[in-house]
C-alpha cells in the first residue's frame, strides 16, 4: 500500500511536470502578447515586456519559470497590477471550493438516492419519472436553468436572494444549478450499477433467505454499486472546486471560475499557468485518493 502510494505520487509529479511544460509552450504559441495595444507607443510596450522578462528567448523564460515554480514563486499577474498570483488564488479559491463541495455533496447524495429508487422501481412509473428528470438535468445547461430559477425563486417568489455570496441562503440556488447535471448523471449511473448487482446470485440468496428489499439494498447492493461510482467522484471533486464561469457569473459569486476565462482572453501568462497547475494538482490528488479508496471499499482490488 505504502509502496503503491509512493509510486503513484511519483507518477503524479511527472504528470504535473508534463502539464506545466505543455501548457507553457502552448501558451506562448498563442498569437499576440499581453501588452499589445494600439493606443500605447511601441517603446512603452517593449519596456513592459522587458520588465516582466517576456523579451528573453522562450527557453530561457521556461527555465526561469521552472526555477520560480520550484521555489514556490508563481509570479505576479500581468493584468491585476501588483497582485501576486498566489494571492489571487488564495482569495477566490475558497469561495469556489466551498460552493463546489456543498453542491457536489448534495448532488452525490441525491443522485445516488434517486438511482437506488429508480433501480428498485425498474420499468415502473417512478423509474420513468426519475429518468425523465435525469435526462432533463443533463440536457439543460446551467445558463438556461440558472437565470430561470433565479427569476422564479428570486424575483417572482422572492424566496431566495438573487445574487451574492456569504449567507447560507445565497448558496442554495447556485449550488442547485451547479449540482443539477451531477445529480442527473449520478442517478443514471447508480441505477445502472444497482441493476448490474441485482442479478447476482448472492442477491437471490438474500431474497431466498427472507431479507426485505430494503435490507438487500443496505447490506448487499449499495456497497457493491459504490465501487464503480467512485471512479467518477475524483474528477468531479476537482472540477467542481475550480468554480464555474457561468454559475459564478449568473449569481455574482466572487469565485475562481471567471479567472480561467479572463486570464486566457487577456493572455495573463502567470495566472493561466498557475491556475492550470493548481487544477492539475488537485485533479491528480483526487484521483490518487480515489484509487487508494478502492482498496478500502473493495478487497478484491490489491494495490501494488
Amino acid at each position: 500500500m505504502l509502496r503503491y502510494a509512493l509510486k503513484r505520487i511519483g507518477i503524479a509529479l511527472l504528470t504535473i511536470f508534463a502539464l506545466t511544460t505543455i501548457t507553457f509552450f502552448l501558451l506562448h504559441l498563442l498569437p499576440g502578447d499581453p501588452f499589445l495595444n494600439i493606443k500605447v507607443p511601441v517603446a512603452i510596450q517593449e519596456k513592459q515586456m522587458a520588465y516582466y522578462g517576456l523579451d528573453k528567448p522562450i527557453l530561457q523564460q521556461y527555465f526561469i519559470y521552472l526555477k520560480n515554480l520550484l521555489t514556490g514563486n508563481l509570479g505576479t499577474s500581468l493584468k491585476y497590477v501588483g497582485r501576486n498570483v498566489t494571492d489571487i488564488i488564495a482569495d477566490f479559491f475558497p469561495v469556489s471550493a466551498a460552493l463546489g463541495l456543498i453542491a457536489l455533496f448534495f448532488a452525490e447524495l441525491i443522485g445516488m438516492t434517486f438511482g437506488i429508487l429508480s433501480a428498485q422501481f425498474k420499468n415502473r412509473w417512478p423509474d420513468y419519472l426519475l429518468m425523465f428528470f435525469a435526462i432533463l438535468g443533463i440536457a439543460l445547461p446551467s445558463m438556461v436553468i440558472g437565470p430561470l430559477i433565479r427569476y422564479f425563486f428570486g424575483v417572482e417568489l422572492r424566496l431566495l436572494p438573487v445574487s451574492g455570496w456569504g449567507t447560507p441562503e445565497q448558496i442554495i440556488m447556485p449550488a442547485f444549478v451547479l449540482g443539477l447535471a451531477t445529480v442527473a448523471a449520478n442517478t443514471r449511473m447508480m441505477r445502472a450499477c444497482m441493476l448490474a448487482v441485482t442479478t447476482q446470485d448472492y442477491i437471490k440468496t438474500a431474497q431466498a433467505k427472507g431479507l426485505t428489499p430494503t435490507q438487500i439494498v443496505m447490506r448487499h447492493e449499495l456497497k457493491n454499486s459504490l465501487v464503480p461510482m467512485l471512479a467518477g467522484i475524483g474528477p468531479a471533486v476537482a472540477s467542481v472546486m475550480m468554480g464555474s464561469f457561468v454559475v459564478e457569473k449568473i449569481f455574482v459569486i466572487p469565485g475562481l471560475g471567471k479567472h480561467f476565462v479572463n486570464a486566457v482572453t487577456t493572455l495573463d501568462y502567470p495566472l493561466i499557468m498557475s491556475l492550470t497547475i493548481f487544477y492539475g494538482t488537485i485533479l491528480v490528488t483526487m484521483n490518487l485518493l480515489v484509487d487508494l479508496l478502492y482498496g478500502v471499499v473493495d478487497p478484491r482490488i490489491r494495490l501494488d
Binding site: D201, Y202, K204, T205, Q207, K209, G210, H220, P299, R300
Partner: protein
Amino acid sequence: MADQVLFELKSVSKHFQVKNAGVLKAVNGVSLTIYKGETLGLVGESGCGKTTLGHTMVKLYKNDGGMITYKGRDIWDFNRRQNMNYHKNVQIIYQDPYASLNPLHVVRQSIAEGLEIHKLYKGKKRTERVMELLRMVGLNQEHANRFPHEFSGGQRQRIGIARALAVEPEIIICDEPVSALDVSIQAQIVNLIMRLQREIGLSYLFITHDLSLVKQISDRIAVMYLGAIVELAPAQSLYEHHYHPYTSALLSAIPIPDPEVEKKRKRIMLSGDVPNPINLGGGCSFRSRCPKAAKRCELECPQLKEITPGHFAACHFAE
C-alpha cells in the same frame, strides 16, 4: 424413507412473456412430492426449467398456475411470520460459487447474515455458531475473516453450503451445486452434502444434469423435459427400467467405467432438435425427437401415470 411430506407441487407452472415472441412456458404443469429426509434428484438438459422450478420454490418467482404447498400450506398464503419461517427452512445453494457470495463481505458476514435476519444465536453464540459451521463444511476458523476472492471454487462452495446450513433448514435446494467445479472437487462436495444429510437429516432437491451423479445420491429421480416431468421413479428402479424414451436416451449416454462393457454400450442417439420452447403447441413435447412418435402424440399430451408402484412416466406407450 420417512413419510412426512415437505413439499407438494400440484401442476405448478411458471410462464415468461418473451418480447415479440410469445410465452415461454419454463415450467409447465409440474407435480412433485418431496418427503422429509429424502434426496429428490431433478435431471434434465439445459433450459428445461429445472432452475426456474427451484427458484419458484424459494419464492424468487411466483408460480402462474398450480399450487406449491409446504407442510400442507400454500407458500403464498403465509403471513409475515410464517413467511420468515419458510425462508428459514428452505435454503438454496447455487451453481456458480463465484457469483453466489457477496465479494465485499467476509465469510463470517456471509454465513452470519441468515442468523441475523432470523434472529438466531445471539451475541457470542453467533460467532461460535459460525465457527461450528465452518468446521462442519471442512473449513477452519482462520477462514472466517477472509473475503471470497481468497478462496478456490470448492472452498467457496463449502462457504455457500455453510451459509445455507446456518439457519438449520429442513430442505436445501441444490441448484447444480457441483457442475462448476473440477471433478475431483465435485466428489468432495458431493460427499460433504451427503454426509450432512446423514448427520442432520436434511432433505434435498438436487438439481443437476449429471446423470451418474444423480444416481449416486438420489432416493428418487425426476426427469424433466421442456418444463414438464416426463418420468419420476425411485433411483434404483429408474436405472433398471425406464419407460420414457427420453429417459432411455439420457441413461444410454452415461459412460460405463469398464472398457469392455463400455465398448458394447449402445447409445440411443436422438435426432431432431429441441423444439422452440416458446409457444409450444399441444401434444407431447418430445414427439419431434422421439423414435416412437405416432399420430396420437401430436394430438394428446401424455400425463404422468403410474406404471409400477412409485414409478411414473408420461408417455402414451409406457407400460
